[in-house]
C-alpha cells in the first residue's frame, strides 16, 4: 500500500463521520491552542527582554553599585542603584577613576539614576505624567542607545533630553516621533524650600523669617524646561526612562538654599547674615551606579570579580539573564502542565473516536483482510487515521493561535499602552514552535490510535466478516 493510499483512505474514512471527526479535531485544536499561545507568549516576552539587553549592548556591561550585599536590587542594568543607600563604599569621582582603570575595562560612565520629577509634561499640554530621569556621561561609548529619531546627547548639552517610548505614546506621537524633536518638556520639581542649581535662586528669606514664612516656601515648585533632542527606541523595558546629561543632572540634584550664619555680634542684637549654600548630592552621596564596559564579553567575569574585590556591589547582564531564564523556566513548567492536561484530554478523545471506528468498521476490516490486507496494513491504516486527527488539530490550533496573536496584538497595541512591553513583539511563532506543535499533536494522535489499531489488526478475518 502506497503512502498516498494511506492519506486517501484516512481522508475518506474521517469524512464519513464528519461531526465526530470535527469534534475530535476541535479538542486537539483547543489543546494545541493553549500550548501554542502560552509558549509563544512566553517566548515573545523573553525574547523582547533579551533583545532589549542586546540592543543596549548589555552583555558587555558591568554595573557597579555601592552596596555589595544588595547586588541584585531588582533594577535594570541602568536604573539599579540610585545612591540612596548609605551602605558600602561611596561611588564618587575617585572611585570612578579607579574602576575605569581596571584591566579589560574599555570605557565607563557614572549614572545618576532615578531622579524623580513630581510631574512631567509636554509644553502646552495639560496631560501630566510621572517620569524618571537617567543621567550619564554623553561622550561615553558605554551605551549603545538606539534612537527612533533625533540625536544623542552631547557633553555640553544642559537642558536637553532624550525621551522614552512612554512619553511619545502618552502625547500621541507614536506614529511621528520625529515631530517631537525641538519641542520642550516642563518638569515640576519640589525641593522643600530649596532650589535646584538651575534657574532662579530661591527667594531670600527676610530678616528673622518666622516659621510661617518657611512653611509657605516649603512647597515651592520649581519649573524646569528641557528641549527634546532625541527619542529613544522602544525597548522591552524601561520605556518610561528619559535620559539627560549627568552634568545637568548634577546641577538639578544640587540643592541651593539660604542659610543664616552664626551671630557674630555677641553684645548687641543678633544680626543674621544670610548666605547661599550649595549641597551637591553627587559629591555628598556619590553616583547611583557606575557602568563599566568590557573590551570583550568574555572578560565580563574577571571585571566583575575585580569590582567585588574592591568591595563594591556588582551585577552583569548574565545575572539578569540567569534570573530571566529561571523565572521563565518556572512559568514554562506551570503552563506546560496546563497545556499537557488539555492535550491529554484531547488524546482520550482520539482514543474514543478510534475505538468506535474500529467497532463500526469491523466487517470492513474483514473484507480488507480477505482482499489481501496484512495485519500491518490494517494497523498502519488506523494509526495513520488517528495521526491525521492529531495533525489537523495541531494545524488548526496553529492557525487559530496565529489569528488570536494578530488580533490580540492589535487590541493590546490600542488599549494596553501602560504595559511597558512593546506588544508587537509578543506572541512569537518561531519555526521550532510551528513544526514542533504539529509534530507533537500528530505524535499524540499516532500514539492514541496505536491501541485501537492493534486491536483492529488482531481481529480474526473470519470473525470480522461475520460481525453484525
Amino acid at each position: 500500500m502506497k503512502f498516498f493510499d494511506y492519506i486517501s483512505f484516512s481522508f475518506k474514512n474521517l469524512a464519513r463521520r464528519k461531526a465526530r471527526t470535527l469534534l475530535t479535531i476541535i479538542a486537539i485544536t483547543i489543546g494545541s491552542l493553549s500550548v501554542i499561545l502560552m509558549v509563544s507568549l512566553l517566548t515573545g516576552i523573553r525574547q523582547s527582554l533579551v533583545d532589549m539587553l542586546q540592543e543596549m549592548d548589555a552583555f558587555s556591561l558591568v554595573t557597579v553599585t555601592r552596596d555589595p550585599d544588595a547586588v541584585d536590587n531588582g533594577g535594570s542594568i541602568i536604573t539599579s542603584g540610585n545612591g540612596d543607600t548609605t551602605n558600602g563604599k561611596k561611588l564618587d569621582d575617585a572611585a570612578f577613576n579607579t574602576l575605569k582603570k581596571l584591566n579589560n575595562v574599555a570605557d565607563a560612565t557614572p549614572i545618576g539614576g532615578g531622579i524623580w520629577m513630581d510631574t512631567m509634561k509636554l509644553e502646552g499640554q495639560n496631560k501630566k505624567m510621572w517620569a524618571s530621569l537617567i543621567s550619564y556621561q554623553p561622550d561615553t561609548s558605554v551605551f549603545q542607545m538606539p534612537l527612533e529619531a533625533g540625536r544623542k546627547l552631547k557633553n555640553d548639552d544642559m537642558d536637553k533630553i532624550v525621551v522614552g517610548g512612554r512619553f511619545v505614546k502618552t502625547y500621541g506621537y507614536a506614529n511621528n516621533p520625529q515631530d517631537l524633536i525641538g519641542k520642550r518638556i516642563v518638569f515640576n520639581m519640589k525641593m522643600g524650600g530649596n532650589a535646584p542649581d538651575w534657574g532662579p535662586l530661591p527667594e531670600k528669606p527676610p530678616m528673622n523669617a518666622d516659621k510661617e514664612w518657611w512653611e509657605a516656601h516649603n512647597d515651592d515648585v520649581h519649573e524646569i524646561t528641557a528641549e527634546i533632542v532625541g527619542i529613544a527606541k522602544n525597548s522591552a523595558m524601561d520605556d518610561n526612562q528619559n535620559y539627560i546629561n549627568i552634568a545637568w543632572a548634577q546641577k538639578l540634584m544640587t540643592q541651593v538654599r539660604w542659610e543664616s550664619s552664626e551671630c557674630k555680634n555677641n553684645n548687641g542684637p543678633c544680626e543674621q547674615i544670610m548666605q547661599l549654600v550649595k549641597d551637591d548630592q553627587f559629591t555628598k552621596n556619590g553616583y547611583g551606579s557606575i557602568i563599566l564596559k568590557a573590551n570583550d564579553t568574555k572578560n565580563l567575569g574577571s571585571i566583575a570579580d575585580a569590582v567585588s574585590g574592591l568591595g563594591y556591589g556588582v551585577s552583569t547582564a548574565q545575572d539578569m539573564m540567569d534570573e530571566i531564564n529561571n523565572i521563565f523556566a518556572g512559568i514554562g513548567i506551570i503552563l506546560g502542565v496546563i497545556g499537557g492536561i488539555s492535550l491529554f484530554v484531547a488524546a482520550i478523545g482520539i482514543i474514543n473516536t478510534m475505538v468506535m471506528a474500529t467497532f463500526e468498521r469491523t466487517r470492513e476490516i474483514g473484507v480488507m483482510r480477505a482482499c489481501g490486507a496484512t495485519r500491518a496494513t490494517i494497523r498502519h491504516l488506523f494509526t495513520f487515521e488517528a495521526a491525521m486527527l492529531g495533525f489537523w488539530g495541531g494545524l488548526f490550533g496553529l492557525g487559530l493561535s496565529y489569528l488570536i496573536g494578530k488580533v490580540g496584538t492589535q487590541i493590546a497595541d490600542k488599549y494596553a499602552t501602560d504595559i511597558p512591553i512593546p506588544v508587537d513583539q509578543v506572541a512569537q511563532f518561531p519555526w521550532w514552535l510551528v513544526t514542533g506543535v504539529v509534530a507533537f499533536t500528530t505524535l499524540i494522535g499516532l500514539m492514541s490510535g496505536l491501541g485501537p489499531a492493534i486491536r483492529a489488526a488482531r481481529l480474526n478475518p473470519v470473525d470480522a466478516l461475520r460481525y453484525e
Partner: protein, 220 residues
C-alpha cells in the same frame, strides 16, 4: 492445484468443542468447479476459508501448488489471498461510501499497483460483469444483482486462480441468482478459474463438475 491433507479445525463455542473440520482430505484440480453442500454448521464455510487462506487449520497441511500455506506468516498468507484468491460473499460486503469502481479497486491498493493501472484494470473487470455504465454508482444505488456483480468484479480484479463464493445467490431472487451463477460458470469455463461455491441450492450444485457434501466436519 489445491490439496488438503488431514486438515482439522476445532472451534470452541460456549465451552463446547465443535469439529468444524475433522481430518479432511481433498484435492481440487486447476479449472475445477466444485460445489460444497451440507447443513448449517457442518463446516462448509470453514473448509472454504481454509482453502482461501482466511482461516488457519489446527493441524494438517493446505498445499497450494505444493506450498503449505497453513504455517506461513501473515504477510505471505495475505499476499496469497491478494494474488490468487477472489472472495464472493452472500452479503456482498461492499464499502457503502465507495463507488462501484472504488470498491473493485480495493484489492489492487493492497497489491501496490499505481493509480492509473488500478483504474484501468477495475474498469475492465466491471465491463466483464456488464456494469460499465454503473461505475460511479454507490452500492445503495445498485440492485442486489448489480451489487453481486461488483463483488464478482472485485474478486476478479487481481486475476485469481481460485474464486471462493460463499452462498453467492443467498440474497438474490432466483432469476438474478441464475444470472450470477451463469456469470461464475463462464469465468470457470472461459478463464479457467477454479470455482468453489458453497451453497444450499441444489440447482446450483447440479451444475458443478463435482459436489462435495460435508457433515460434522467430514466429507462424505
Amino acid at each position: 492445484m489445491i490439496e488438503l491433507k488431514d486438515v482439522s479445525k476445532i472451534y470452541k463455542l460456549g465451552g463446547e468443542e465443535i469439529n468444524a473440520l475433522d481430518h479432511v482430505n481433498l484435492k481440487v484440480d486447476k479449472g475445477d468447479f466444485i460445489a460444497i453442500v451440507g447443513p448449517s454448521g457442518s463446516g462448509k464455510s470453514t473448509l472454504a476459508n481454509v482453502i482461501g487462506g482466511l482461516d488457519i487449520p489446527d493441524s494438517g497441511e493446505v498445499l497450494i501448488d505444493e506450498h503449505d500455506i497453513s504455517k506461513v506468516n501473515d504477510e505471505i498468507l495475505s499476499k496469497y489471498r491478494n494474488k490468487k484468491v477472489g472472495f464472493i460473499f452472500q452479503t456482498f460486503n461492499l464499502q457503502p461510501t465507495y463507488s462501484a469502481l472504488e470498491n473493485v479497486m480495493v484489492p489492487l491498493v493492497f497489491a501496490g499497483m499505481s493509480w492509473g493501472e488500478r483504474k484501468k484494470r477495475a474498469l475492465e473487470c466491471l465491463k466483464a460483469v456488464g456494469l460499465e455504465d454503473r461505475i460511479n454508482h454507490l452500492p445503495n444505488q445498485l440492485s442486489g444483482g448489480q451489487r453481486q456483480r461488483v463483488c464478482i468484479a472485485r474478486a476478479l480484479v487481481n486475476n485469481p486462480e481460485v474464486i471462493i463464493a460463499d452462498e453467492p445467490t443467498g440474497n438474490l431472487d432466483s432469476k438474478k441468482g441464475a444470472e450470477i451463477v451463469d456469470l461464475l460458470k463462464s469465468l470457470n469455463q472461459n478463464a479457467g478459474i477454479t470455482l468453489i461455491v458453497i451453497t444450499h441450492d441444489l440447482s446450483i450444485a447440479k451444475q458443478a463438475k463435482r459436489v462435495i457434501e460435508i457433515h460434522d466436519g467430514r466429507i462424505k
